[in-house]
Amino acid sequence: MTHTEHDHDHNEHDHPHAEINQTEKPTYYDMLETAIRELLIERKLFEADEIRRQIEVLDSRTPALGAKVVARAWIDPNFRKRLLANGRTACEEDFGITFYDDTELIVLENTDKVHNLIVCTLCSCYPRPVLGLPPDWYKLKPYRARAVSEPRKVLAEFGTTIPDDVEVRVSDSTAMVRYLVLPKRPKGTETFTEEELADLVTRDAMIGVVEPKLENGSAAHV
């Protein structure tokens, strides 16, 4: 394939939409996205800058945000209470997390009697404002199909065994209502700071497929 982009790199090519770093012809779907976006911008249905700003918002949401929320709930009983009463309000008020997709957030507390697992059987609904975008396996058939009918087997495939006397409760997300699992605080973390606790909380623990673990060496306390 020959490329003329080379020339463009060295000139200030006056083309408003030029993607001059592109070296290979994009896929059909990549070009379709560009076409649709540019057409809608030309029709003034929204501005190009809104896409750029939303990409920044998406990039700013990672499981680290959810981990902070969980760690706070572990150390602050009052926050925990408010978080369980209304997940969205507590995240907005105490962490300034915006719910850009206008979804409700229900926080599900794991206890000695109940282990929670979240799924979206129909598609890929996920607590994006606090966890970012879902991993691929969450969006694929095996997890979506089996989480509701054989959750213990699914958990076992993630290396998680929940004792038989603990109920496994699966919550199926919708377009408007999203869930976040509040895992159990691991034993042996009594002296941990909030930040050290947050380091133990992984994305998968907040989906409910694993439990936070105190790995050898991850404990900052010696």
């Binding site: 994009p26 779907y29 649709i36 057409l39 691929d136 095996p142 377009a175």
Partner: protein, 107 residues
């Protein structure tokens, strides 16, 4: 009851409880166009042009074959174009001409 009744009872997205393969815990970093596609979806929702349920429904309307063969964001962008056509916001000619223009940037 014929086997085809299953197609009516269960739409392609409705897979909760069905038998399926073991979990393969895969993930990938989004390609730039996939991230743009996601941002586009959010902006379309903010402006009440296409909401989340319309998007999900639009993906389902692609039918089982396309759902099976297209990747996640490929399904989204095709669903968006179909919904925009159906709503009369874009025409097939608009999209065809713009696709030609976009492709020409790389030839």
């Amino acid at each position: 009851m014929s086997d085809s009744s299953e197609l009516v009872i269960r739409l392609p997205n409705d897979i909760g409880g069905m038998p399926a393969d073991p979990i393969n815990p895969i993930d990938h970093d989004l390609a730039p166009w996939e991230k743009r596609c996601h941002a586009l979806a959010d902006v379309l929702d903010f402006h009440k042009i296409i909401n989340t349920e319309e998007k999900r429904c639009g993906v389902e309307a692609l039918g089982a074959e396309m759902i099976g063969k297209l990747s996640y964001y490929e399904r989204w962008i095709v669903a968006f174009s179909n919904i925009l056509l159906r709503k009369g916001i874009l025409t097939p000619t608009d999209i065809a001409l713009k696709m030609k223009e976009v492709a020409a940037r790389y030839s």
